[in-house]
């Protein structure tokens, strides 16, 4: 029971801190908006393969804007050396990972709402014609990206590295999620909900399970000094 309470207070603390500081969300949403607008502008005149391009651009916009936030969740612990204090509370590293994962998930979900909305408006593609399918892809893509970003964010913050390195290092690991989510998004736009769509979805489920489990199990080892 204590672990669940601790989890709640860790998540609440991060959300309250961000609400008051407004350090990450405005920058992230602004970057998301800008990238969505620029990407959508490049789509003018593109007819062939439009759905494929939109699928990839949506997820690239989400990735590049979201990585900012993932770094920040851990960076705020480094201010005034709060990370050491957090590690000394009677809470396991796995719960710290889960709390950070939850905060990042909520942050990325907000970003997804904005980016998807903007792409619908600017690029004029039927992204939301099948809202339930799109929601499933967005949810699984979010879990996949967040699991990788949170894991590496913790490692990089522990090693006092910056967000630039995080973006570079997360990309190879996040590439399969980006690819799978892009393809699944393309199939949603093309209104093809057949076995191929399910295959990409299954891939996202497996990827998410593997990386969330890896985070829970390995986080303690990865953040050791």
């Amino acid at each position: 029971m204590l672990m669940v309470t601790q989890f709640y207070w860790m998540v609440r603390k991060d959300l309250v801190s961000e609400y008051r500081a407004r350090q990450v969300w405005p920058a992230m949403l602004m970057l998301g908006t800008l990238v969505s607008f620029l990407f959508s502008a490049q789509l003018d005149g593109v007819v062939e393969g439009r759905s494929r391009i939109v699928g990839m651009l949506v997820w690239l916009a989400i990735y590049f804007a979201g990585i900012l936030a993932m770094h920040r969740t851990f960076a705020m612990e480094q201010e005034d050396d709060c990370w050491d204090a957090l590690r000394l509370y009677p809470v396991t590293a796995s719960w710290i990972y889960l709390a950070k994962f939850t905060v990042n998930f909520l942050t990325l979900a907000t970003l997804q709402v904005v980016v998807l909305g903007l792409f619908v408006v600017f690029s004029n593609v039927p992204l939301l014609d099948h809202p339930l399918r799109m929601l499933t892809v967005a949810l699984l893509g979010n879990v996949g990206l967040t699991s990788v970003g949170t894991l590496l964010g913790g490692v990089w913050t522990e090693n006092r590295q910056g967000s630039t390195m995080l973006a570079f290092l997360t990309l190879p690991l996040a590439a399969p999620v980006l690819l799978a989510a892009s393809e699944a998004t393309r199939l949603v736009i093309d209104q093809e909900g057949g076995p191929l769509w399910w295959r990409w979805l299954s891939f996202l489920v497996v990827f998410s399970i593997v990386f969330v489990t890896a985070g829970i199990v390995l986080f303690e080892l990865l953040i050791e000094d």
């Binding site: 207070w9 050396d81 000394l88 009677p90």
Partner: protein
């Protein structure tokens, strides 16, 4: 051998960073209710020693016992040698660590910072405890302030309250006197004396020999990674030549 009266016992602890040895075969014994001061120059390894003792940093070799329980090299969840969440929680509650930094979340008020610590350590009536500590450190009127509105000395008080709110039996303090004015130093010295009377074991680092003399039962010097006791007898010819002793004698 471990005696029943030892709060901390460390034997042959070694720690290196990138093959540069910081701690070399450190032996340390702190009794229940004893206060020790560790002195040493900047970069001598004082903070690393405390971080090893608190289980934040993994050490390379050596053994550590806290209240007779063996502590494994990997700090966090296996501090007490098991991965059982309940016993891990118990061992964490034994330790209070007050770092050189104040470890306060900048966007949470003083009260919220203390509440967070109380809730994370599973204290009953966390709000009551947080307010009681704010009263005790004389900052009840500033409970809703953010840490940045306070002076360093005031922030240090909150930091100490944060580290003590769960009433740990072993307390590690990294340069707790640094940056404090005379009044705050005296407040801290009184607090340490009170904690000692409550049978808390205290291990703190300092650069100031006067603080060491005032608040510690024993003073240890960490030099080139080796920890050794500085004799309390200033007439000892050998100890008088020790670079950390000379300023003590002057003081």
């Amino acid at each position: 051998m471990m005696t029943g009266n030892d709060a901390i016992r460390m034997t042959g602890l070694c720690k290196a960073f990138h093959d540069i040895p910081v701690l070399r075969h450190v032996h340390l014994r702190v009794a229940v209710g004893e206060s020790i001061a560790v002195m040493g120059e900047n970069g001598a390894g004082k903070t690393t020693l405390l971080r090893c003792l608190a289980g934040i940093v993994r050490w390379d070799r050596g053994q550590l016992w806290l209240h007779g329980k063996p502590v494994t090299r990997s700090g966090m969840s296996s501090r007490d040698g098991s991965r059982d969440g309940a016993s891990h929680a118990e061992s964490c509650r034994d330790i209070g660590m007050i770092s050189h930094a104040c470890q306060l979340y900048p966007n949470l008020s003083l009260c919220e910072n203390l509440l967070f610590a109380a809730r994370m350590t599973g204290l009953p009536h966390p709000r009551k405890q947080a307010h009681a500590w704010l009263e005790r450190i004389g900052l009840a009127g500033q409970a809703q302030w953010l840490p940045r509105r306070l002076s360093h000395g005031m922030r240090r008080r909150v930091s100490i309250a944060r580290g003590l709110i769960h009433q740990p039996s072993i307390l590690f303090m990294d340069e707790p006197f640094s940056g404090l004015d005379r009044q705050s130093r005296q407040w801290l010295a009184d607090l340490l004396a009170r904690l000692q009377r409550q049978q808390k074991s205290i291990c703190f680092t300092t650069h100031d020999p006067r603080n060491a003399d005032q608040c510690a039962d024993r003073v240890l010097a960490l030099q080139n990674g080796v920890l050794r006791e500085i004799a309390t007898d200033p007439n000892s010819a050998h100890e008088a030549s020790h670079p950390l002793i000379a300023p003590r004698l002057i003081a």
